[in-house]
């Protein structure tokens, strides 16, 4: 619980940005991009939107450091899981078959 009171106009401005980003992400899906382009665009905009929600709506901006430890640890563990898994899936076929396979 943060004692800092954020003004209503800040919250409404953040919602406006979130709605604009939603329109943008749908708009980008109409552009003739390669599959990877859609993934990068979609996830970048999603990350921006999620950051706004976490920082402003969830008051992470005014939260104690302990809360930040949880947020950072969470993201780091998620990155470990994704990077280890995709280091396999994304490189399949690009390496020669090992003897015995």
């Amino acid at each position: 619980m943060s004692d800092k009171i954020v003004s209503t106009s800040t919250y409404i401005a953040v919602l406006a940005i979130l709605l604009v980003l939603t329109v943008l992400t749908v708009g980008v899906s109409f552009l003739p991009l390669p599959p990877i382009g859609h993934v990068i665009a979609g996830l970048t905009i999603a990350a921006l939107k999620a950051s706004l929600v976490v920082l402003v709506f969830m008051h992470a901006m005014h939260s104690p450091r302990l809360t930040w430890c949880v947020i950072v640890a969470c993201i780091v563990w998620l990155l470990i899981m994704f990077s280890l898994t995709y280091s396999d899936y994304l490189t399949r076929g690009s390496l020669p078959q090992m003897p015995g396979h």
Partner: protein, 243 residues
């Protein structure tokens, strides 16, 4: 005139009574103060949400893994999902998040009636979300998008999917049902929690001094919104749409 009357004005006496009453009723004995107790509760919710991130994270990981193996087929499957209802639901959830944060804001200003109204709108928008979701599920049912139950291989071959690749379509749709299903379950739990908070706010349980349960419920509700923010592009926006 008693000593108390000479030391404090009537307004101060009321404030003092409120404070000690609040402290007696709300403060658990293991905490030094109400802020201490509220921070601990919020911390507990953040840790719980971190475990939820790991839960949903594995499902996102699975979509990504199959996408790595065959992006073209996953793209064709994604294009069959109803992005219009998905977009509407994104707007609905984002608006509900604003209502939730405004309810907490009103409580911080001791405007319980306003807070009650905002909480009702939050729960209402949550129900709207589930309503749209139900309509979408029905359309998916009609369009044979339920692998293992109502699914037609021939339709997908006609859409240009190689017969040997139908499995990728099935696994993507399966993940779609699991992910949106679990998300809808979270929304349902959220609606119940927000409704309970609305009733308790109406009864005057929360004020500027103490609104920890409301704060923690808000964290959960926003988290459900964050999950949807990632679900939307991961499931609905993988391909190039045309009007």
């Amino acid at each position: 005139m008693s000593l108390r009357d000479t030391l404090f004005t009537p307004a101060e006496q009321t404030a003092l009574f409120d404070h000690t009453f609040l402290a007696r009723e709300r403060l658990e004995e293991q905490y030094a103060s109400l802020p201490h107790q509220s921070e601990t509760a919020a911390f507990g919710m953040w840790v719980f949400l971190a475990t939820e991130v790991m839960f949903f994270g594995t499902l996102f990981l699975a979509v990504g893994a199959y996408w790595c193996l065959d992006p073209q087929t996953i793209e064709l499957a994604s294009l069959e999902l109803n992005w219009k209802i998905g977009s509407i639901n994104t707007f609905v959830l984002l608006a509900s998040s604003l209502m939730m944060v405004l309810a907490i804001h009103a409580t911080q200003l001791n405007q319980q009636k306003q807070a009650y109204r905002y909480l009702l709108i939050t729960a209402g928008l949550g129900i709207c979300f589930l309503g749209f979701k139900a309509v979408e599920y029905y359309i998916d049912y009609r369009e044979n998008l339920i692998p293992g139950f109502k699914f037609d291989d021939a339709e997908w071959i006609a859409r240009g999917v190689d017969a040997s690749r139908i499995g990728y379509v099935k696994i993507f749709l399966f993940l779609y049902w699991v992910m949106t299903g679990f998300h809808a379950l979270h929304v349902t739990i959220g609606i119940i929690a927000v409704s309970v908070m609305a009733v308790l706010t109406r009864r005057g349980r929360y004020s500027r001094e103490y609104y920890s349960p409301l704060d923690v419920t808000g964290l959960y509700w926003h988290f459900v919104d964050v999950v949807w923010i990632f679900l939307f592009p991961t499931l609905y926006l993988l391909g190039t749409h045309t009007l």
